[in-house]
């Protein structure tokens, strides 16, 4: 009897623990249940095709000669990686990515400061800056294309007679970058604006009292505090710019050496009808994007979006 008594509290906690764990298990099951449909869709549409793309990239698979389809190992990768077309497109894509993201960072920061500090017309400027963000890329690209087309366009008419900027490689890439900057600066602006509004006003006032100039307050108080927001904005925009497709498709159709890696991936499937090579390019683009993400997250310490959610 005496041996039972001391065990009573332990038993109580065990019952309690069992009740708790029942509740925990119910919560887990409910959590999984809620997530299941989204997970199934994402797995079926994103992960299965990526696996299938890897499989296809190891095949000789040409729609013109379907009977010759067979396993060829890594030879497609050899073909793509030793071809000038891939590396040319890769360099074009890198140039577009680096230049447009760099310009957008400066321009976006300027716009964000303007939106944050302007004493008038705040709503009007915010509304108008959302228009490029929301507009269908193809619609905007047509606007730029017609503007630069000699004979119809007002911008082309500002240039010396006889120039057709969209048919020259360097000028066309410049115009593609311009169209990209116009379309995506608002995204950068609004992410930076959100970062800017987290900078405490008191700190800026204190720095002012201490005699810091406007530029010093910007570089030594604001920028360090905004670093996480800047890195996230850069990560998003870099990944997005590397995938550029719509603007090039409409503006030049990738002609005259203006094609990005996405454009040649598309062309290898729909123009050259080569599913094997097209899939190889798909996989290589995927790897490139993954490398960029890893550089940002591991190299620069960008907080991967969603990690804060995970932590709670």
């Amino acid at each position: 009897m005496t041996t039972v008594a001391p065990r009573a509290p332990a038993e109580l906690t065990r019952i309690e623990r069992r009740r708790l764990s029942a509740a925990t298990r119910a919560e887990r099951r409910f959590g999984w249940l809620l997530c299941a449909p989204a997970v199934i869709v994402m797995a079926a549409v994103a992960f299965y095709p990526i696996g299938y793309a890897i499989y296809l990239s190891l095949q000789r698979y040409d729609f013109r000669f379907p009977q010759l389809t067979r396993f060829v190992g890594l030879s497609n990768y050899g073909v793509v990686l030793s071809s000038g077309i891939w590396w040319h497109a890769f360099v074009v894509t890198l140039i577009i990515t680096v230049v447009s993201v760099a310009v957008e960072l400066v321009l976006g920061m300027t716009f964000a400061m303007l939106l944050h500090y302007t004493p008038l017309w705040r709503a009007l400027v915010r509304t108008s800056i959302l228009i490029p963000y929301g507009i269908v890329t193809v619609a905007a690209a047509f606007s730029w294309q017609y503007a630069w087309t000699p004979g119809t366009g007002y911008l082309a008419s500002l240039l010396p007679a006889g120039s057709a900027p969209l048919t020259s490689q360097v000028q066309a890439i410049g115009l593609i970058i311009l169209a990209e900057i116009w379309k995506t600066t608002p995204f950068m602006t609004l992410l930076l604006l959100a970062g800017l509004s987290l900078v405490p006003d008191e700190l800026l006032r204190a720095a002012k009292v201490d005699g810091a100039s406007g530029w010093q307050r910007f570089t030594q108080v604001m920028l360090p505090l905004m670093k996480p927001a800047i890195l996230v904005a850069l990560l998003f925009r870099t990944l997005d710019a590397f995938r550029i497709f719509d603007n090039i498709f409409i503006l030049t159709r990738g002609n005259n050496g203006t094609g990005s890696v996405s454009i040649i991936g598309y062309d290898n499937l729909f123009t050259a009808l080569n599913l094997g090579i097209g899939s190889t390019i798909s996989v290589l683009i995927f790897i490139a994007v993954a490398i960029i993400a890893v550089i940002f997250i591991k190299g620069f310490g960008t907080a991967a979006p969603g990690t804060a959610l995970e932590r709670r």
Binding site: A26, R28, W32, L34, C35, A38, V39, V41, M42, V45, F47, P49, I50, A53, L56, L114, P119, L120, W121, A123, L124, R126, S128, I129, L130, I131, G134, I135, V136, T137, V138, A139, F142, S143, G151, T152, Y154, A156, S157, W182, F187, A194, S197, D201, A233, D246, F249, R253, V261, G265, L269, L275, I285, A293, A304, P305, G306, A308, L309, R312
Partner: protein, 295 residues
């Protein structure tokens, strides 16, 4: 006035303590700077409007302002099905994708923001990866899969990839909104004996409605904007969306559409975007920045 009414607390606070009377010089400088930004964002849009309203005979004049206004381009594209059918496809595919995506994402985001369960980190990591997927990487395999199972050139054939790509965006945005709903409400409901399911349906979901609406707008804009899936997974106007049809208006198909018609089509597909921006400006900004910066 509008600036003071802004709910964004810090901005509003700053606006309230702002100078009672702005000196004219500063006012002019700010006004000029604002005008530059507004002009920069709107001039390509105006150029589309001008082209769309130009009389077809004056399309080549290169003038920034239509010299002769006409509705011809609009009436042309609304006669026949070359643009009307893709426009219908765009609307239907966009609406169906948005509804399904938001329902699935609401469930998942609630779980992510409120429940403890193993595998949550994996779910977040996985959807982050998908958000970074280059669309072209999926186009090649999807093209082959959809031809094999008969989804190629159908509405579901586009709805399914749109779901997969909009779900990460929707889950982030919604879980950020869910986290702002006070825990106490949920605890109170629990004390009153409500089940997990009842709490979700009667307490959380109604409070989350503004967030759900915001997410729906962002998802619809994403589907409305897509071009690469729309040109790759369709072959005729049976499923081709408006941007894809416009891409093939020019050159790629055997007959070339006049510039005025493409411009008119571009104006039509921009109208919903402008309406969203005008009416839901604040929501769109809150939604697109919540997942990225606060999360």
């Amino acid at each position: 006035m509008t600036a003071v009414a802004a709910p964004a607390a810090r901005t509003a606070a700053r606006a309230r303590q702002a100078r009672p009377a702005l000196p004219t010089g500063r006012k002019t400088r700010w006004g000029a700077a604002n005008l530059v930004v507004v002009a920069w964002t709107l001039f390509p849009i105006w150029w589309l409007v001008a082209l769309a309203f130009k009389d077809p005979t004056t399309l080549g004049d290169g003038s920034f302002w239509p010299n002769k206004w006409s509705w011809t381009s609009f009436s042309t594209i609304f006669h026949g099905s070359a643009f009307v059918q893709p426009l219908i496809n765009s609307i239907v595919i966009g609406v169906i994708s948005t509804v399904i995506s938001v329902v699935l994402a609401t469930m998942a985001a609630y779980a992510v923001a409120r429940l403890k369960f193993p595998g949550k980190g994996v779910l977040i990591g996985v959807s982050l990866m998908i958000a970074m997927f280059p669309a072209i990487s999926l186009v090649n395999p999807m093209f082959n899969i959809e031809r094999a199972i008969g989804l190629f050139n159908t509405w579901p054939g586009l709805i399914i990839p749109y779901l997969a790509f909009s779900l990460p965006l929707a889950i982030y945005t919604l879980s950020a909104f869910f986290r702002e709903i006070p825990w106490d409400l949920e605890k109170a409901a629990k004390v009153d004996g409500a089940s997990q399911r009842q709490i979700f349906m009667t307490v959380i979901a109604p409070l989350a409605l503004p967030g759900i609406a915001t997410t729906a707008i962002l998802v619809f804009m994403f589907c409305w904007n897509d071009f690469i899936f729309a040109i790759s997974l369709t072959s005729t106007n049976a499923a081709r969306t408006a941007p894809a049809a416009m891409g093939f208006f020019t050159g790629v198909s055997q007959f070339t559409f006049p510039i005025g018609n493409v411009a008119a089509a571009a104006v039509i597909i921009t109208i919903p975007i402008v309406l969203f921006v005008l009416f839901f400006q604040r929501r769109i900004i809150a939604g697109m920045t919540s997942g990225a910066v606060k999360g």
